[in-house]
């Protein structure tokens, strides 16, 4: 690699970092993200009523299920709607045109947007996972059962990965779509189909699932692989590779599509 290439790579990375920082600050100012976070917080806190049901050791599992369910739905909503909002916010506000008028490659701008969205998602998933962990730690002590700290951290990471795939897929749709509504709707549909993939596989003999439709179903990312607390020992690296692979794939395809888009 020549010195010129090194310099251009360094400047591209610097541009990605700058756009990511800008996107992160936009995400922090986005009210729906705070609203979603607060709703997830309420759901996690509300799960405490389970203690009245006297389930014994199983109560902890139920608490974690509800806690991670709240984090999962909050993170997916922010991933899909937030990515569409951040992308079109810059396009409609002419911020993208302003940035791209400078020597910033389109790919750097797009990847910076994605990195910023993933950073915001990491903050959301991380803080809510810490809260879930703290809530369940006290309850585990009261119930006299072991507190699955490592499992909680892993589950938070899996939810972030799932949201990251949804965010990258939405970004890919954004590069074709003309409105955030269309991109957000398509992103939500992507999430639903990703969760229903095992159901589709349950009827392999159905005529509708043969041919093109069947191939699409099989190539769709299986988002149920990232369901928390279903961790299978020894699958961590494969799962991370699967998740990050899809993120990279959607980001690469989005960069290719965005390079030909009229701004």
């Amino acid at each position: 690699m020549s010195r010129q290439d090194n310099l251009s790579l360094a400047s591209a990375l610097r541009a990605i970092g700058l756009v990511a920082r800008m996107t992160l600050s936009q995400a922090v100012r986005w009210r729906l993200a705070w609203f979603t976070g607060a709703a997830a917080l309420l759901l996690i806190g509300g799960a405490c009523w389970l203690r009245d049901l006297h389930f014994g050791g199983a109560e902890l599992r139920f608490l974690l299920d509800l806690g991670f369910g709240a984090i999962g739905i909050g993170a997916l909503l922010v991933a899909v709607l937030g990515t569409a909002h951040l992308f079109f916010g810059d396009l409609d506000g002419r911020m993208a045109a302003f940035v791209l008028a400078r020597p910033v490659p389109r790919t750097s701008w797009l990847l910076g947007k994605l990195a910023g969205a993933l950073g915001a998602l990491a903050f959301l998933c991380g803080s809510l996972t810490v809260l879930t962990g703290a809530l369940t730690a006290g309850r585990a002590e009261a119930l006299g059962v072991a507190w699955p700290g490592l499992e909680i951290v892993r589950s938070g990471g899996l939810l972030w990965l799932k949201a990251a795939i949804a965010s990258a897929a939405t970004l890919f749709v954004c590069t074709y779509a003309r409105t955030p509504l269309l991109a957000g709707g398509a992103g939500l549909l992507f999430v639903v189909i990703g969760h229903l993939r095992p159901v589709a596989s349950a009827w392999p003999s159905e005529a509708s699932l043969r041919g093109v439709v069947g191939a699409v179903v099989r190539l769709w990312p299986d988002l149920t692989r990232f369901d928390p607390l279903d961790w299978m020992p020894g699958t961590g690296a494969a799962l991370a590779g699967y998740g990050l692979g899809y993120v990279a794939l959607f980001a690469g395809a989005a960069a290719l599509a965005f390079s030909r888009r009229d701004l």
Partner: protein, 235 residues
């Protein structure tokens, strides 16, 4: 008419398809597709939409709570349907599978039983339910130690088959997370089934794995049992 193909425009899709095809080779969890068929009876309860939105685990919990409410009402159909649906949504959770099997084996046959029915009818009814519970327990490949222990317990208590129960306890005892009593019961049940020599040899191989300092392992007691078997059976 000339058909023009926009090749650069297809590049993102080609990247997606090829990359996704490559990613399919990444090993995933065992396919749980078949178990989704069990959700048919609870269509309309919100379980499927919840699962579609990534709320599989909370949906299973809610179904389980509803199964418990049905259990309190002694509504056999609703209890079994809802409990099985919870298992279908979260097949990898032993808690749902084991407790559903216990409900099917021990509660359901008693609820619908006519008190005036002959003892033989009651016995056959219980055995039939135990078999259904065992089918549920065995329906997922790669049993955990807890599921194997439950299968052994039901086989012994419900069907009175000491030999099969002994083999299942032995399979459970081979697992790293098995309780120590699985190995002890395996030895005793296989002796009762007339396979004392085989039980002794397995006990001899299993003993070194028992920690001496753990009172639950009862190593000293099992060593004494091995000496006793050596004396009774001979070399």
């Amino acid at each position: 008419m000339r058909l023009s193909v926009n090749l650069p425009g297809l590049a993102p899709w080609a990247v997606l398809v090829l990359g996704a095809a490559l990613l399919q080779s990444v090993p995933g969890p065992p396919e749980r597709a078949g178990e989704w068929r069990l959700l048919g009876p609870v269509a309309g309860t919100g379980a499927l939409p919840a699962a579609a939105g990534g709320w599989r685990a909370p949906a299973a919990d809610v179904l389980w709570l509803r199964a418990n409410l049905a259990w309190e009402r002694r509504d056999a159909v609703a209890t079994e349907t809802l409990a099985r649906a919870a298992v279908a949504l979260e097949p990898e959770v032993d808690y749902f599978r084991i407790n559903t099997a216990r409900i099917i084996a021990f509660d359901l046959p008693e609820w619908g039983l006519d008190p005036t029915a002959p003892a033989e009818v009651a016995r056959r009814r219980r055995a039939q339910h135990v078999r259904r519970a065992l089918e549920l327990l065995a329906s997922r490949p790669g049993d955990s130690a807890a599921v194997l222990v439950e299968r052994a317990r039901l086989t012994h208590q419900g069907l009175g088959d000491s030999e099969a129960a002994g083999e299942l306890f032995r399979a459970a005892a081979e697992r790293p997370d098995a309780p120590y009593f699985a190995g002890r019961l395996s030895v005793e049940l296989l002796i009762r089934a007339g396979r004392a020599r085989e039980a002794r040899e397995w006990l001899r191989a299993w003993l070194p794995r028992l920690p001496a300092g753990d009172p639950e392992a009862q190593r000293a007691r099992m060593e004494a049992r091995l000496r006793e078997l050596d004396r009774l059976i001979g070399p």
